[in-house]
Each structure stands twice: as C-alpha cells, then as structure tokens.
C-alpha cells in the first residue's frame, strides 16, 4: 500500500507544481507533512537544506528522500517515477504539438490565474520554514525569554548578502552552516569558561 501511496502523492506534487523552482514547495509540504505525516516540519526543512546542496530539482530530492525513509530503494524509485510521470505525459504531448505547429497558445489563460496563486502559496510555505529557523518548534513563543537572538542576526546578515551581492545561494548556505558550527563551539567554550 505504501508504494501506491508514495506514487500517488508525488504524482500529485508533479501534476500541481507549475512554474518550476520553488513551486513544488507548498505541494510537497501539503502531501508529505500535512496529509501523510511522513516527515515532521523539521525534517521537511532539512530536505530543503539538503536539496540546495545536492543536484536535481527539490521535488525529485524530496521524493527520493521520503521514498527511502518509508519504503527503501523501491519506494524512492516509485516516488520519483510518480513525480515525473505527469510531466512525461503532458510535456510529451506539448512537444509533439510544438513540433507540429510551432506554437502553444491557450495555456496562457490558465497560467495567468495560477501564477499569482503559486506565489502566495510559496510565501506561505516559506513562512513555515522561516519560523522554524528562528524559533525552536516553529511557533512564535509567548515571551522573548528563550529566543535565540543569534538566529535573527544571522538571518539578517544572510538576507542582506543575498540582496546586495546576489551570490549563488549555495555559498550563503555553506557560510550559514559554518557560522552555526562556530557559534556552537563558542557557546560551549563560554559554558566551560563560565
């Protein structure tokens, strides 16, 4: 059963992520975290992080990761296959039509309505990741007592670097990872010294 579920879930992710890039984010979160509880929101954020540093689209990376976790290698293959299946059918038809008529009008109307909606959904999924990065359990705490200000400072620095210098995001992520490790040892040093 799990094989069928994996295939069907990632089939839907593939079918409803239009626009590429981060468009698959809300669909993956919906299927994997909300509907099936295959991953916690924290593991979901980890996949995003991992997929930035590994080859391939986020959806394929998530499919492989979830597939392996739930049902080993066959699960990974089936989830990945499910993810690319809608593309294979739909894009092949479009490729055929393009080769024949050299144009593909008519899709634009639907896209005009979907594009802004996709941006809204991506913003919502991003907000969940942002809260998780800043606060312990991904929820805004009642008091500011347990809040780690280092997280806020690093977020601001990363964001400014991205906006001003427009580097490849991989470098920002690697830098943030190194800073996280540095901060961990610094904290340890302080506790030992104190």
């Amino acid at each position: 059963m799990i094989y069928l579920q994996l295939f069907w879930s990632f089939f839907q992710v593939g079918l409803f992520s239009i626009g590429g890039g981060y468009a698959a984010l809300p669909q993956i979160q919906n299927q994997v975290v909300d509907v099936h509880h295959w991953l916690s929101i924290s593991e979901f954020a980890d996949i995003l992080t991992i997929s930035q540093m590994t080859p391939g689209p986020i959806a394929i990376n998530a499919a492989t990761f979830v597939g392996i976790k739930m049902a080993g290698i066959p699960g990974a293959v089936l989830a990945t296959f499910g993810n690319v299946f809608p593309s294979c059918v739909i894009v092949l038809i479009l490729a055929f039509l393009y080769a024949k008529y050299k144009s593909f009008k008519g899709v634009e109307g639907v896209l005009g309505g979907l594009r802004p909606a996709v941006v809204g959904m991506i913003a919502s999924a991003s907000l969940a990741v942002l809260l998780l990065a800043l606060f312990k359990d991904g929820v805004i705490p009642d008091s500011m007592a347990g809040v780690n200000l280092f997280n806020f400072a690093m977020l601001a620095v990363c964001f400014l670097i991205l906006r001003i210098f427009k580097p490849n995001p991989i470098y920002v992520m690697a830098g943030a990872g190194a800073a996280g490790v540095g901060w961990y040892f610094l904290e340890k040093l302080i506790t030992v010294a104190g």
Binding site: P55, N83, G109, G120, V129, V172, G180
Partner: protein
C-alpha cells in the same frame, strides 16, 4: 548584440546518439546544484552552442513550455530536448539521465542523514543552514511578489494575497485554490478575447 545561433547540424539516429544524449543529460543534472533555473543556461550551452542539436530560438521556446507545464523545469526541458533530438525514446532517455544523479545522491545522503543527524556538530551546521535557506526563500519570495506587482494587475495581486491567506490562515486545500484561480484565469481570458473580437468588427 549577441548573435543568435541558428545553425543546426543534422542528427543521425543510432545507439551512439542515444548514449550521447544520456551522457549529456546525466552530467548536466549531476552538476546542477540547487535545482530550478540553473540547468537552463547549462543546457543552452551544451545543446545549442556545443553540440548544435537545437537552435537558440527553439531552446527559448522549450524553456517557456517547460515553465508553463507541471513538474520540475529541469525534467520538462529534458523531455522537450530529448523528443526533439530522438523522438519519444529520446525523451525517455533524457528524463532517465536527468533523474538518475539526484536519485543516487539523495539515496546516499538519506542513509547518512539518519546516522549523522544526532551528532551535535552536524546538528549545529544544519540549524545554521536552515537560517540560510530561510534567507534564500525570503529573497525568492520578495522577487516573485515584486514581479507580480510589476504587472500592475490588481486581480493578480488580489489572487496572490487571497491564496496566501487561504493556505496560511485558513488551511484551505491547495487543489481548491488551484481550481478557483484557473477558472478565474480562463474567465478573464475569455472576456478579453470577446472584447477584442468585438472591437475587430
């Protein structure tokens, strides 16, 4: 101005061609970190400038089709390129070549993940990188919102805000939002088309 490459060499279909197609998509995919649009300029370089299998205008059309179809852009572009070069078999080989590297790499990573995640240093690095990805996402979202607002289309802005609120605060099913927005898009296009048709008369 950049010269448009429109010179295309004729393609002979044989086992060598299929292998070359597989090898090209495999290596392109293996070295595309971060996913998304990164692979597009790389494909352009390989298939248009180096191998001369596709002309530049066609490649731009492929990217446009890939972006407006469901699924990852890298996969969709591979299908279009593969189909153009060697038909349906070519498309399937191209998809296989593109999917294989992430499948292998993530399989290995996921095994390491479960054994490394409890290590405090790895944990600290992951938490740091999580802040990094949050910053990347804010950056991406700001750019996307700006692009929507730039069109000065009030309906688009309303759709964007409404779908954000629907997902974030009211837990509305994504598919319902999709159906409603697609219907709005079709209705608007139909209305415009009618208006334009009327003006022509």
């Amino acid at each position: 101005m950049k010269k448009i490459i429109s010179e295309v060499i004729p393609i002979k279909k044989n086992a060598g061609l299929y292998f070359k197609l597989f090898r090209s998509t495999f290596t392109l995919s293996a070295f595309t970190f971060g996913g998304g649009y990164v692979i597009v300029p790389l494909m352009q370089k390989k298939f248009v400038e180096k191998l001369k299998w596709i002309d530049e205008k066609e490649m731009l059309d492929f990217v446009a089709i890939a972006q407006s179809s469901p699924g990852p852009i890298a996969i969709n572009t591979s299908i279009l390129v593969g189909y153009k070069i060697a038909g349906i078999a070519g498309a399937l080989i191209a998809v296989f070549g593109t999917v294989l590297p992430p499948l292998i790499v993530i399989s290995i990573v996921s095994v390491l993940y479960s054994s490394f995640r409890s290590n405090p240093v790895v944990n600290a690095a992951m938490l740091g990188m999580r802040i990094g990805i949050a910053a990347v996402l804010i950056d991406v979202v700001i750019t996307m919102v700006k692009n929507i607002l730039k069109t000065k289309n009030i309906l688009s802005a309303v759709i964007m805000l409404a779908s954000f609120a629907a997902v974030c605060f009211f837990d509305v099913n994504i598919l319902i939002i999709f159906a409603v927005c697609a219907a709005i898009g079709v209705a608007v296009t139909y209305k415009h088309g009618k208006k334009r048709g009327g003006e022509a008369k």
